[in-house]
Amino acid sequence: MKAQRQDTEKLRLLFVDDEQRVLNSMRIMFRKQFDLYLASNGAEALEIIKEHDIDVIIADHRMPHMTGVEVLTAVRTLSPRTVRILLTGYADLDAVEGSINHSEVFRFLTKPCAPDQLRETIELAATISRETAASVMVMEEIDETTPIGAPSDDIVEKTTPESESESAEPTISLAELEHQKTVSLDQVSVASPETVTPQTGGGRAGDGIAVFSDDDDVLEAVQKAGRGRVPIYHARNIIKVIKILTEHRPGVLVTDISEDKGTIQSMTAQLKKHLPELVTIAISEHRDVLDMVWLINHGQIFRFLRKPLSPGRCAISLQSALQHHRLLLKNPDLLKRHGVEQVEEESSFLVSVLEKLRSAKGPWASS
C-alpha cells in the first residue's frame, strides 16, 4: 500500500500518452496546480501507479503495446481510488465499450478537447478523488477482505481457477478482473439471506432490478440472471419506470436504449443526478460511439451490454451492479465519483417526476 499523504499536498496527476508533445503541453498546463507524473506508455504508467498514490489518471487510448483501456482497467484494480479518464484521438467501439465495462472510466474525453473543458474535468476529478479517498479505502478493504473462492454458482465456478491463478500475476486481464469482482459480490449476496428471497416485504431497499425494455428477451435474460433471488420489476414505458423507481427503489436499472434514444438518454442523465445510487446498465442492439460516450459522461452508466444478452454475461453484470449499488449506499461519498456533466435541456416532466423522487429518497439514505 502506498504511503498516505497530507491533504495539503498537491493532487497527483498522471498523464499517459505516447506523444511527447501532448505530455509537454499537459505538463506546462497543469504543473502549477498539480503534482504531475508523465508516462509515454502503459507499462511506465503502471509503474508510477504502483509507486505513487495518484489521484487522477488521464490516458490516451491508442498507444503501442498497451491500450489506454487496458491501462485504466489495470489501474482500476491496482489503485481503485484513482479517478480514470480516457482521452483519445479516435474512439473505436471496442475502446468505448471497454472504457465502460472494464475501465469504469469517470470521463471519456475526445481529442481535440477544449483546454477549459480539460482543465475543468481534471480539476473535478482531482477534487472527487481527494474527497472520496477515505471511502474508497473502505471499499478497497471490503474488496480485499472478501475471501476469494467458494463459488456459489456455475458461472463463478467455471472462472474461479483462472481467477486464482491469475490473481497472483501483476497484470490481470479484463475478464478475470470482472470475474474476481463477481465472486466477491456473490459472497456478499449469499451472506445476506434477505436478498435471496425477493418476496419478503419488497426486500431490502436497493436489491431490486428494474427492467425498462419493450423487448421480452431482455426481461427473460434478466430474470434468468436473477434466478429468483432478486425482485425484478418490468416497465415498458417511462412513467412505469418512474413509478417503479419511486415505489420499489430498485438498486439497478436495466434500460434498453435501442429505441427512443433521446428520452432515455436524458432520463439516464437525470436519474444519475437525482438518484445517484441507482446503478444503470444500458442495453442496445447497436453500438454508437457518440451515444456511449454521452452515456458515460452524462449518465455514468455502469455497464453497456449488447443485444442479444448472454445470460452469463448479464448475470455477472447484474451482480456487479447490485454490489456497486450497495457500496454506494454504504459510502455516499463514493457517489461523487459518479458525478456527471450537467445536461442543459431538461424535460419539465422528467424534472418534476425526478424532483418527487428525490424528496422520497429518504429510505435509501437511512439504510
Binding site: R21, D60, T88, G89
Partner: protein, 625 residues
C-alpha cells in the same frame, strides 16, 4: 427426291391422259358429218340409180334403140360413185378395224362397180352395134331385097325378106321370132348366096348385121342379166353399214371421249380440289405454323429481350455490387487507417489548441510584465520633487519588477512559451505532412499514369499506415536505388498499403516487418514485404488471390484485398509472389516492370483496372479530362 420424281411422273401421266382424252373427245367435225351423210345419201341414191339403171337397161336392151340418156347418166353416176365416195367416206376416224372394214367394203364395192361399169360399157357397145345393125337392116333391107329381086334371086330375096322381117321382129322387145329359126335362115341364106356367088357386099353386110343382132341380142341379154346380178345394192348396203358403223363408232368414241373427259375432268377437278383443299389445309397449317412461329419468334424475342434485360440487370447488379464490394474493401482497409489517421490528426490538434491557450496565458503575463517595465521607464526625475524621491520610487519599481520576474516566473514562462511554440510548429508540420501524404497517397490531383518513385511511395504508405503499424511492428526498410517506374501511383500505393495492413494484422503481439526494394533483372523492380506474423496455411495459399476468400470473420473483411492487389499487379504486367510458413511469417514480393510495354498495354490495363476500381478511375478520368 423420290417424291419429286413421283410427283412429276404422275403429273406428266395425268397430262398425257388428259391430252389423249381431249384428242379422243374431239367432236366429229361438221364437214365429216356432212361428208358422211352425203356419202350415205350418195350410196343410197347409187343403189336406187342402180336399180333404175337395171330397169332402164332391161327395158332398153331389146328395144334396139340406143341406150337412153337417162340410162347413160345413171350408169355414169353409178360408175363415178366410188370416186365420189373416196373423198367423203374416209374422213371419219373411228378405229382401225372399223376403218379397215369400211375400206374393205369400199374396195369390194369399187370392184363391183368397176365390173358393172365394164359390163355396162360392153352392153352399151353391144347395143350400139346392135342398134346400128338394126338400123342398117331397117334401112337397107328392102333395098337389098329389091336388088336380089332385081337380080333375080327371088328365093334369096324371099329368104332375105323373111330374115329381115324376122330379125327386125327379133329386135323388138316382145319378139316372137325364135333365134334359132333366124339363125337357120341366116345360115341357109348365107350358104345359098355363097354357093350362088350372088353374095353381094350389101348382102354380106346384111347377113353380118343379122349375125351381130342375133349375137348381141344374146350378149346384151346376158350382160343385162349380169349387171342385174351385180351385187351393187348389197355392197352398197354393206358399205353403208360399215360406214354407218364407223361413223357411229367415231361419234360414239367422241361421245365416250367426252364422257371420259368429263369424268376425267371431274376426277381432275376433284383431284385439283383435293389438292387445293390439302394445299389450303397445308397453307393453313403453314400459316398457323408461320403465325405460331412468328408468335414464337415474337415471344422468343420478347423472352430474349426479357432475358437480356434480366441479364443486363443482373450484370448491372453484379457490377454494382462489385463496385460496392471493391468500395467496401477500400473502406475497410481505409477504415483501419482512419482510426490511426484521425488519432494522428487529433493528437496534434489537442496540443495545438492547448499550447495556443497556454502561450496566450503566458503572453498575458508577459504583457503585464512589459507594462510594468514601461512604467519603470516612464518614471521621470522631473515628476518628483527631488532626485532622492525619484531614486526611491525608481528602485521600488525595479524591486517590483524583480518580484514580478520571480513570482510570475517570467523566464520560465518565456521558455515554456518557446517550447510550446516549438512543439506547435512541429505539430503543424506533422499535420501538413499528414495532409500531404494523404493527398499524395490518393494522388487525386495527379496524373493517373506517371513515373513513380517506388521507395517514396513505400515511405508514404508507411506513414499512412504508421498508426496501424507502430503498435504492432518494428518496421525495417532496406531501399535499393531504383529508377522511377511507369505505373498508376495511386494503385501501387493502394497495394502497398494493403499488404502492409495485412502484415500488421498477421502480427498478433509484436513483430517485425522488413521491406526490401531492389532491381530485379534489367527491367523490373522487386518490392518485398516480409512479416514474422502468423503465416498462411498451405491450404489457403492457393486461394489467397481468389476474390472473396477471407479467413476473417464474416463482416470483418471483404476478401477482396489480395485479389485486387493481384489484379493491379497483373494489370501492370507484374507478378505477385507469395511465400508463407505458418507461425514463421509471410513474404509478399511484387515484381513490377520499369517500363510499360506500349500504349496498347496501357489501354488494356486501363480497361482491366477500370473493371475493378471504377470509383478511382472515375475520379482520375475526371481529372484527366
Amino acid at each position: 427426291m423420290k417424291r419429286i420424281i413421283l410427283t412429276i411422273g404422275l403429273s406428266v401421266a395425268a397430262l398425257a391422259l388428259l391430252g389423249t382424252l381431249v384428242l379422243q373427245s374431239r367432236p366429229v367435225p361438221v364437214y365429216v358429218h356432212v361428208a358422211h351423210h352425203a356419202a350415205i345419201a350418195d350410196l343410197e341414191r347409187t343403189a336406187e340409180d342402180f336399180s333404175s339403171l337395171i330397169t332402164a337397161l332391161n327395158s332398153a336392151w331389146a328395144s334396139a334403140q340406143e341406150p337412153s340418156e337417162g340410162a347413160r347418166t345413171l350408169a355414169a353416176r353409178v360408175a363415178e360413185n366410188p370416186m365420189r365416195l373416196s373423198t367423203r367416206l374416209f374422213l371419219v376416224d373411228g378405229g382401225t378395224s372399223q376403218e379397215n372394214r369400211v375400206l374393205n367394203r369400199y374396195e369390194s364395192y369399187t370392184v363391183i362397180v368397176e365390173q358393172t361399169e365394164s359390163l355396162i360399157a360392153d352392153l352399151f357397145a353391144a347395143q350400139a352395134v346392135y342398134v346400128k345393125s338394126v338400123a342398117f337392116i331397117r334401112e337397107s333391107g328392102v333395098q337389098i331385097i329389091e336388088q336380089m329381086r332385081s337380080s333375080g334371086l327371088d328365093s334369096a330375096a324371099t329368104d332375105t325378106f323373111q330374115l329381115v322381117v324376122g330379125t327386125l321382129d327379133y329386135a323388138t322387145a316382145d319378139a316372137s321370132v325364135d333365134e334359132s329359126e333366124l339363125r337357120g335362115l341366116l345360115v341357109s341364106l348365107g350358104r345359098d348366096l355363097q354357093i350362088d356367088g350372088n353374095m353381094t357386099i350389101e348382102a354380106r353386110r346384111l347377113l353380118d348385121s343379122v349375125t351381130v343382132i342375133l349375137d348381141n341380142k344374146w350378149i346384151m341379154q346376158s350382160r343385162v342379166n349380169q349387171i342385174a346380178e351385180m351385187t351393187i345394192p348389197d355392197n352398197v348396203y354393206n358399205l353403208i353399214q360399215a360406214a354407218e358403223d364407223l361413223y357411229r363408232s367415231a361419234v360414239t368414241s367422241a361421245d365416250q371421249g367426252r364422257a371420259l373427259l368429263s369424268i376425267y375432268a371431274l376426277l381432275l377437278l376433284a383431284t385439283a380440289g383435293f389438292i387445293a383443299f390439302r394445299l389450303k389445309q397445308s397453307y393453313g397449317q403453314l400459316n398457323r405454323a408461320n403465325a405460331s412461329l412468328e408468335d414464337m419468334n415474337e415471344s422468343l424475342e420478347q423472352r430474349v429481350i426479357e432475358r437480356t434485360d434480366e441479364l443486363a440487370g443482373t450484370l448491372k447488379n453484379l457490377k454494382e455490387s462489385q463496385v460496392q464490394l471493391v468500395q467496401a474493401e477500400k473502406m475497410s482497409s481505409l477504415g483501419q487507417l482512419v482510426a490511426g489517421i484521425s488519432h494522428e490528426i487529433n493528437t496534434p490538434l489537442l496540443y495545438l489548441e492547448n499550447n495556443s491557450v497556454l502561450v496566450q496565458e503566458r503572453l498575458e503575463i508577459m504583457e503585464h510584465f512589459v507594462k510594468c517595465c514601461i512604467g519603470v521607464f516612464a518614471l521621470k526625475p522631473r515628476d518628483y520633487p527631488d532626485s532622492k524621491a525619484f531614486q526611491r520610487n525608481f528602485l521600488e519599481a525595479l524591486q517590483e519588477l524583480k518580484v514580478s520576474l520571480r513570482e510570475d516566473e517570467i523566464e520560465t514562462n518565456i521558455e515554456e512559451a518557446r517550447d510550446l511554440m516549438r512543439d506547435s510548429i512541429e505539430g503543424l508540420k506533422d499535420l501538413a505532412e499528414m495532409a500531404y501524404n494523404l493527398k499524395d497517397f490518393s494522388r487525386l490531383d495527379r496524373s493517373p499514369v506517371a513515373n513513380f518513385d517506388v521507395n517514396a511511395g513505400l515511405e508514404r504508405s508507411l506513414m499512412i499506415a504508421r498508426n496501424v503499424l507502430k503498435y504492432k511492428a518494428n518496421v525495417r526498410t532496406s531501399f535499393g536505388e531504383l529508377p522511377e517506374i511507369e505505373c498508376r501511383p495511386s494503385q501501387i500505393n493502394q497495394i502497398f498499403l494493403n499488404i502492409l495492413t495485412n502484415a500488421a494484422q498477421a502480427i498478433e503481439e509484436e513483430g517485425e516487418i522488413v521491406i526490401v526494394t531492389k532491381l530485379h533483372g534489367p527491367d523490373q523492380v522487386s518490392i518485398s514485404i516480409t512479416d514474422n506474423g502468423c503465416g498462411i496455411p498451405e491450404d489457403n495459399l492457393s486461394q489467397l488471390r481468389d476474390p472473396f476468400f477471407t479467413t476473417k470473420e464474416v463482416g470483418m473483411g471483404t476478401g477482396l484485398g489480395l485479389s485486387i492487389v493481384d489484379e493491379i499487379v497483373r494489370a501492370h504486367g507484374g507478378e505477385l509472389v507469395i511465400e508463407s510458413e505458418v507461425h514463421k511469417g509471410s513474404s509478399f514480393t511484387i515484381l513490377l516492370p520499369i517500363k510499360q510495354p506500349s500504349e496498347m498495354a496501357t489501354e488494356k490495363r486501363d480497361v482491366l483496372i477500370s473493371k475493378r476500381t471504377e470509383q478511382t478511375q472515375t475520379q482520375e478520368l475526371a481529372e484527366a479530362s
